[in-house]
Amino acid sequence: METSLSRRAFARAGAAALAAAAALPTAAAQAMPAPPAVTSETEATVSRILARYGSRLTAEQRQRLPRIVQGHVDMLQAVRAVAFDNTAPPATVLQLVEGRRA
């Protein structure tokens, strides 16, 4: 998630510092920080997005996209760093359908 505009950071900061960007999108765009350093994963992901959806995006959105993706990658790296034993299961289970009405 974009570092300056994430739900997580939004809650963490009590939303205080983050409301401005949406409240004043034009001003926020003018104050937009320089593109951050991004990882190769971010670059690859952004390339895929632009190849698929690039024609829909404005120049400002294209500029914003790497920050959003880098935010996602930052979060993923924290999660991927957790190691599990082979048998550690996910919190997703198959619920059998028999006897259940949709």
């Binding site: 963490r12 900061a13 205080a16």
Partner: protein, 490 residues
């Protein structure tokens, strides 16, 4: 006697008191409903709190309640009580916009299960409550991300209510209804309830049906009450809860049902979370400690506790992003996400569509690990307590921030084999585990905005969280403070 007018103070009474007045004939459900509708028309637009009123339905239900009560057909504590429902719950005959431009003309030909449950309890639906677009499902960056505009906090209209159940928070706080329904995927009941100075509850996952409710994240979405007190929340939850075969994640009947008469744990064992909101202003933590002193004086035990450390905030955010990318796939693929108000929401779905299945499974493994660790905490405590939020309400309009310096790229460490990041706030973590939470007022900050305390309980032990909040409210009056006029009583 049925008074022709209802005084303002009556509009701020809790469910039980209104019910008592109905039954001693000093107040009429029709008069109360009309008074709330009038107040909604007068103050709702100023606050941007209401998506639409449902006056025809409301008056029909109020008249029915009045007739039934007069005939001795008593449906229980919510009979004749007016409420609002967040505009992501389907209500036949009225638009259900999900707070978002792409769905502004959306109608459903059925009522959500919780609406039908409240119908059966005799409650009176008077309005659909404004909300953040898609409840923030594709991300959002502030109060303006709503079809109805930024929702103003009744305590100070320069400030926001928080989201995404923003209208629900303002409606209850400003006395536009006795209670409201909100939804909570990650804090969307707890935050606006706290920052609007009301009592709100996120039930255990699966306890309340989501049939007929917009989906953000199937494994995290919950529906819950926002009201005057924890006691009100308890009564409302009892009417809302129950197994629903139309919701795939609905708990079995015995686990889904909730009784407001469930006995409270005695003595109540409260764990004071010491590793959350480390950057919060001291007055927020001090308010929690004062509230817990009240509980301790009534026989509760209070001792320090810590939520498990790990990248759980990241995990909760990622689960939401990934599931929302699927839930809103049509919106994203069609390009209609460009119609959203929020510049982040307009494009975030494209980025969220690029996550890998392997990462989602990793998240779910992490989630189970956390659920086990968090559950072990409740071997020692009935509830854990923390500030309702890490700050008071935020200004709606703030000047833009100065440009930030370029960031250093993160350096992944393949040798890292343990949880290394501290958990800073309880919302994402407890939401990720489907735990119930109740937030109630704990006073006012120096800036005269509400502070809250939240109680989190073991999954399925909703009654414990409510019991802790009720214990506090039985021996304090934080929840009897209202916003200044005109949004509070004169």
């Amino acid at each position: 006697m049925k008074p022709a007018t209802v005084d303002e103070a009556t509009l701020f009474l809790p469910v039980r008191e209104l019910g008592a007045r109905f039954r001693n004939h000093s107040l009429s459900p029709v008069a109360l409903t009309q008074a709330y509708l009038d107040r909604c028309r007068r103050l709702g637009p100023e606050l941007n709190a209401i998506a639409c009123l449902t006056p025809e339905r409301a008056l029909r239900q109020a008249q029915q309640a009045e007739q039934e009560l007069a005939a001795g057909h008593d449906r229980g504590p919510l009979h004749g009580i007016p409420y609002a429902a967040k505009d992501l719950l389907a209500v036949k005959g009225y638009p259900t916009t999900w707070g978002a431009k792409p769905y502004e003309d959306q109608h459903f030909d059925y009522d959500a299960t919780v609406i039908r449950n409240l119908d059966a309890a005799g409650a009176v639906l008077i309005a659909k409550a404004a909300m953040i677009e898609l409840a923030g499902g594709l991300g959002y960056s502030g109060p303006h991300a709503s079809l109805t505009g930024p929702c103003h906090n009744p305590w100070n209209t320069k400030y926001w209510t928080c989201g995404s159940s923003s209208g629900s928070g303002a409606i209850v706080s400003a006395g536009l209804a006795t209670f409201a329904l909100g939804s909570d995927t990650r804090g969307s009941i707890v935050c606006p309830s706290t920052q609007c100075g009301i009592s709100g509850m996120r039930p255990s996952f699966g306890r309340v049906s989501r049939h007929g409710v917009m989906t953000i994240a199937w494994t995290m979405d919950k529906i819950g009450p926002m009201a005057r007190s924890a006691d009100c929340c308890s009564l409302i939850l009892a009417a809302m809860a129950g197994h629903d075969p139309a919701d795939w994640d609905s708990l079995p009947p015995a686990q889904a049902a909730f009784s407001a008469r469930d006995a409270a744990p005695r003595p109540l064992r409260i764990g004071r979370l010491t590793n959350v909101f480390p950057n919060a202003r001291p007055e927020l933590h001090q308010a929690v400690d004062r509230a817990l002193a009240v509980c301790r004086a009534q026989g509760a035990t209070v001792s320090d506790a810590q939520i498990p450390a790990g990248p759980f905030e990241e995990a909760s955010e990622l689960v939401i992003l990934i599931e929302a990318a699927s839930a809103f796939r049509e919106l994203i693929e069609s390009g209609r996400c460009a119609l959203l108000q929020d510049p982040l929401g307009q494009i975030n779905g494209y980025a969220s569509s690029e996550f890998r299945a392997n990462d989602y499974i990793q998240l779910q493994r992490l989630r189970l690990e956390l659920a086990r660790k968090f559950d072990a905490l409740f071997d020692h405590f009935d509830v854990v307590a923390a500030p309702g939020q890490g700050s008071t309400a935020s200004l709606i309009d703030r000047p833009p921030r100065p440009a930030a310096p370029p960031r250093t790229p993160p350096q992944p460490n393949p040798q890292r084999r343990a949880f290394t990041r501290d958990s800073l706030q309880p919302d994402g973590i407890s939401s990720l585990c489907g735990l119930p939470a109740v937030t109630v007022p704990a006073g006012l900050a120096e800036n005269q905005l509400p502070i809250g305390i939240q109680f989190i309980a073991r999954a399925g032990h909703d009654g414990a969280a409510l019991a802790a909040a009720r214990l506090l409210q039985a021996h304090s009056d934080f929840h009897r403070h209202f916003p200044p006029a005109p949004y509070g009583p004169e």
